[in-house]
Amino acid sequence: MWTTLATAIRREVGIAPLITFRICFGALMLLACVRFVFEGWIEELYIKPGFFFKYYGFEWVTVLSPVGMYGLLSLIGIFSVMIMLGLFYRLAAIGFFFSFCYLELIDASNYLNHYYLVCIFSFMLIFLPANASFSLDVLRKPEIRLYRIPQWMTGALMAQLAIVYSFAGLAKLSPDWLFHARPLSIWFAERSQMPLIGPLLSWPYSAYIASWFAAIYDCSIACWLLIPSTRKVAYVFVLVFHLLTWLFFNIGLFPLIMILSTLVFFPAPYHECFLSKIGFRGTAGRLPRQCIVPGKYIAVIFACLLFVQTLMPLRHLLYPGSCLWTEEGYRFSWRVMLVEKSGHATFRVSDKAQGRHTEIRNNQYLTDFQEKQMSIQPDFILQFAHRIAEEYRTKHGMSDPIVRVDAFVSLNGRSSRRLIDPKVNLAKERASLYPKSWILARDKTSEL
């Protein structure tokens, strides 16, 4: 079996799927940039806040000046266009990867799974010869033209997509999702007044049907897309599923990203059929040579990447308790649209030497959106507690500020529970990836 697999991934296939992927990716990212700027999100997310939540290990990433932020977004936009057109492609892909990652690393409270997916895709594009056909680079340097590529190149993209779907599906196999239709029933109820589909959404069974459909879809769609005989039907499901989520939820470009990138599952002839209409020519040719590193090493890099990608979503197993509650191991795990959470965190600072204490008004430091994110995510609560400790150390002369929090979170329509041990001095707790002992367990006795 392993030898057949090894031969299969080395088999040469037409380059067309990779070309479609490159063009769609570039175009979508351009759209994303334009949308980001025109929705005023730079202002809202990067200029207004005075404090930014960091990713562990990336505390050094800082926000740029307003001009710098608009510059960064423009740069990402320009790189997107270059990727789309295949112009100075390698440079553009590298530039895109770093500038986009930088943007995302500035504030962790903006984390979205599909931005993370974009980071991964752009990383893979750096190594793929996606400009080797139907690109301005080929016009510039005809010698880089390729007609065929080894199958593992598009295979890696497919594997990445399969990882996204499968882990999203696995995460849905939980009692809340399957047996209580939460959070879908909550979101359906919120939307029960939508024209036309509103009455359907308020029918009590629809949330259950949708939950089960989504779980089965996510768990198995990658398989259906891989099997040639079911591929076309599966793609219709991809369209229906993502268009529905796009219609119901405020999830931006995610549906489009998935709809367009799953095209990579189709073999070259399908792509050639469409691409030839806009001038693509692809017949027999040769294997890639023009890569930054030789092909074998690329395969190794991709294998490592995919290996890490399969482990990342499982890391929550190393932490005690449900990761829906503790959020430990929650990010980078394709837990998409999985919980409805709201919370409220009240911080208090005191100092023994000074003998004074005070309650913190969160909105003096955070935007409403940041406060909402912070109040449900323990690592943000810790970061904010450190920020407060710093403030009271430097501006209010506290030598040893003690920061405690009353944090309550409500998960999937339950009444709220305490999230953080109120006795713990958060100023003394260090940020780390170890389990956080100060997160309180959610007792299982009063489930829905």
Partner: protein
Amino acid sequence: MSKLLYGFLLSLTGLYFCSCGSDNGPVNSCGADYDQVALFSNYVEQLIIPNYENFHEDLQALSLAMDDLSAMGNQENLLLVQEKFRTAYKSWQWVAGFQFGPADEQELRSSCNNFPANRDQIEFILAGGDFDPGLSEQYERGFPALDYLLFKNDAEWVLSELEGNSQFSIYMFGIIELMLSRSEATLQAWRGEYGDNFLTNTGSAAGSSLSLLINNLSKQYERIKSEKIGLPSGELTLQFTYPERVEAVHSGLSLALLQESLKASKYQFEGRSRLGSQGMGLAEYLEYVNAKKGDQALKTVILDQYDLALQEVASLAEPLSETIENNTSSVVDTYNEISQQVIHLKTDMPSVLCVSITYVDNPSDSD
């Protein structure tokens, strides 16, 4: 391969039917089948419109008393104005939890009750500075400014200002006229199209009537907590007290207004009219969805907490500004008791009724 998948599908379907066998099929979460129209009409007809009517009438009475005072400036007229001021200020507390829709458009809150008042600006206006009530800095108008004009100094001073300083009455009437016109516009909107639409704006999405009611109840409660007692007591400011920041500092009404606003908040939660007649309310809605907090009904938890807070407030000595200085700990105890409720109103109630707290806006996508 595909056999395996079909097997998987089958087992999932099997699981589904097993799971449904245990209870009587799914129920609507969040009480989506609750009679919201009846709920909203109780709020509009028994609380919102009567409370705004009351408020507007009390402002009219205050304005008339001011006319009399300016016509024949004597001690008796001044006492009457002060009395009407107290009545109207209390009535404000009964509409303060309904500052959305037309009230929001009219900027009613900032026209009526942004405190503490900006003393320097008020003195500047009295000394002949420009005053355009509609464009003012907002901390020099409404009840807090009137509180300053009518109660800061003794009766002699008010009467002499009225007689000697034309700017005084221009300022005073400017304030009351703005409040009158804006409360009237708000009331008219509720009696008209806005009120009608409110009844049928069902569901729990952002912007639905339920969402507006819950969000405003919780927002107003947070204001009561931090503005009326948290800031002056020093609990939000490293225990440095600011007694002069209490509501109605000069008329000494602070505690009465605090009591009144908590009662209004409780009645708003219950769906009870100001006069006390009980109708459909959020409390009943919580009961309908069988909302629990621990072993207790969430409704009971919230009502008990309101009562505890009201008792604490009742135990405080008048006036609040002096108690803050002399018996800070009693004020802090009250503040802590009031704070206990925030989580119930801001997190528990919205979650079980599927309403998101929308004053926390989402400036991005979610996933």
